[in-house]
């Protein structure tokens, strides 16, 4: 899937017989064919938009508008759709392949905005091309229209984003807010579990006796081993180590003595799996988010206790699904006190095809402070708040 090349396909719906009857009735009142055609198309545009908004739960009242007043309809090229409690929309019809939409001067005022509705040649289907709040001339360019989501925002209540803070210290006590799950339950197979040397390691569930398997893995934690080997060994111990004193001791020793931040994270998270209540135990939880149509990501938060009562925080987003690539321009930001502290954006190649499968930010906020994580793509954003 190449996100950049994927065009937004506007919604099409068939025009109802009932609407065509109404439009014909209005058109039949007109003194000439040109005016009749105009009234016919305007009426279809208003009724189709009305139905669509009603489907979304937006109450409309076409009868209260100028398009339902026969006298006004003669003297103005009007397609007014009153939205209950908000004001009026103007629903302008265009033909297939028209690149601009005509907005008569007399309807350029006192409107919440303009919906551009394409009627097919037989007036049997409508396509909602888009929305704009202002019309400063008699012509609106189709390719500059915004999506209907903008219209929805204009005529809906805006509820504040849920500002319930996730208390990360509670996470360390295994009290995790609803909606956050273990990464393993959301993501299989676990990419962190990289088989190291021999099938016994890769297959053993932690409940069986792993004594024979553990000893060689423990040796891989020694300082003379390559750092990547030590890190993998720490990861494996998280799976097979059980609550054994020698494993706990080895992981704590690794946390205390490694120079490598990555290894320390891995050791702390493994410790968290084996002995969740250990003071150095880390924790990792994830949430699946649908950032746009067919664009699902995993939002992962990992924590590691640090010195002076502070928490290391690791924020990661990972692409999931059949093509695990993050859409280009997807942005991950961390905010504190309303100010963006750190941000990272998914990249694309020369063809605009996404190339990143994951993004991460690590930081250590002052104890007791709150921060927000914002995930943004195009006009969608998800904000989650945390207390460190």
């Amino acid at each position: 899937m190449t996100f950049a090349a994927e065009p937004y396909t506007p919604l099409s719906l068939p025009i109802t017989l009932a609407d065509r009857q109404t439009a014909r009735r209005f058109a039949a009142e007109q003194p000439n064919a040109t005016k009749a055609e105009q009234v016919y198309r305007n009426t279809l545009a208003v009724l189709s938009t009305s139905h669509y908004l009603e489907m979304l739960g937006i109450a409309t009242d076409p009868q209260a508008g100028d398009s339902w007043n026969a006298a006004v309809r003669f003297f103005a090229d009007v397609a007014e759709l009153p939205i209950v409690g908000y004001g009026s929309l103007e629903c302008r019809p265009v033909n297939v392949d028209e690149r601009a939409c005509y907005v008569p001067s007399e309807v350029q005022e006192e409107r919440l905005g303009y919906v551009v509705v394409q009627l097919d040649a037989e007036c049997e289907a409508v396509t909602f091309l888009g929305f704009t709040e202002t019309a400063n001339s008699e012509s609106i360019k189709i390719n500059q229209l915004r999506s209907l989501d903008d219209l929805i925002d204009c005529v809906s209540r805006s509820y504040p984003v849920q500002t319930a803070f996730a208390d990360l210290r509670q996470w360390l006590d295994n009290a995790v807010e609803a909606g956050w799950e273990s990464v393993e339950s959301l993501l299989t197979p676990n990419p962190d579990l990289i088989p190291v040397r021999g099938q016994a390691v890769a297959e053993s569930p932690s409940t069986t006796d792993n004594t024979a398997a553990i000893a060689p893995v423990l040796r891989l934690l020694q300082p003379n081993q390559a750092e990547t080997i030590r890190r993998h060994a720490a990861s494996v111990l998280g799976e097979i180590g059980g609550d054994r004193p020698e494993v706990i001791y080895a992981l704590v020793d690794l946390i205390d003595n490694t120079e490598d931040e990555e290894t320390r994270w891995q050791a702390s998270l493994s410790l968290g799996k084996l002995s969740p209540n250990h003071p150095l135990a880390g924790v990792r939880r994830a949430k699946q988010l649908e950032i746009a149509e067919n664009v699902e990501i995993l939002f992962i938060v990992a924590l590691m206790p640090k010195s002076k009562g502070r928490l290391g925080v690791d924020i990661q987003i990972e692409a999931i699904g059949s093509t695990p690539i993050l859409p280009p321009d997807l942005t991950l930001s961390v905010l504190a006190n309303g100010v963006t502290r750190t941000t990272v954006t998914a990249r694309s190649d020369d063809q605009g095809v996404g190339i990143d499968s994951a993004m991460r930010r690590r930081f250590t906020p002052p104890a007791g402070t709150d921060f927000q994580v914002k995930i943004q793509w195009r006009d969608r954003e998800v904000i989650e708040s945390f207390i460190a």
């Binding site: 919604l11 099409s12 003194p31 139905h51 009603e54 006298a71 006004v72 007399e106 209540r157 059949s322």
Partner: protein
């Protein structure tokens, strides 16, 4: 391309997500908008080439989207649930058109083999007389201006540019605003203001006339 299972799961999750937001929230409506687009574009809705298909579809969507909480994910996929209501509406329209056909004589279908839409013939427009009456009466009111209110509504101390003259330039033939402005020798700012004047001061007079005459459609 995502598989069918992926599609059903993803749509199911979308519905679950929609139900977490209040009905008048922008969040819920944006997701509903997404749901309609995705389902319509998936091609997974039941299709029948009947003239009333659009009516049935519209009624199905309006009912289902405003009763989403009735959807039971343990019983069927979202599209199966939607199709159940769609077929129900289609049955209703089919039965109705049979009844209409039975009630009426059927010269239409015998004289022409084309599959004519029975509903198209149900309500012939009201008598043509009163229909023409509306625009003639309205035009007469504009021309005579019995209360003098149209002529008294003028543009910027220019008595010759008033609601009556403007109405007559816009109907029955729609003289473009630029042409009207040129006729009256207006400068650029005035040219811009003239349609606003028409909208703010003139159309309300017509609106009142239309209401007083009962020219509001139902």
């Amino acid at each position: 391309m995502p598989s069918t299972d992926d599609f059903h799961q993803s749509i199911g999750r979308l519905v679950a997500q929609i139900l977490t937001y209040p009905p008048d929230s922008a969040q819920r409506r944006r997701l509903l908008n997404q749901l309609v687009r995705r389902v319509m574009q998936s091609g997974k809705l039941w299709k029948e080439y009947k003239p009333y298909y659009g009516d049935a579809l519209q009624q199905m969507w309006e009912y289902c989207l405003t009763h989403l909480e009735e959807y039971d994910p343990s019983r069927a996929s979202v599209t199966t649930w939607l199709n159940y209501y769609l077929k129900k509406r289609l049955r209703y329209f089919r039965d109705r058109s049979y009844r209409e056909l039975k009630r009426r004589a059927t010269p239409y279908t015998t004289s022409e083999n084309k599959d004519l839409d029975p509903l198209d013939r149900v309500s012939a427009p009201e008598d043509i007389e009163p229909v023409i009456d509306i625009w003639q009466k309205t035009l007469k009111w504009v021309e005579t201006d019995p209360d003098g209110i149209l002529r008294a509504t003028c543009f910027r101390k220019r008595p010759e540019i008033n609601a009556q003259t403007l109405f007559l330039k816009r109907f029955p033939s729609e003289t473009p605003w630029k042409e009207i402005a040129a006729d009256f020798d207006l400068d650029e700012a005035e040219t811009k203001d003239l349609p606003k004047f028409y909208n703010r001061k003139c159309l309300p007079l017509l609106r009142n006339f239309g209401s007083s005459q009962g020219y509001i459609n139902s």
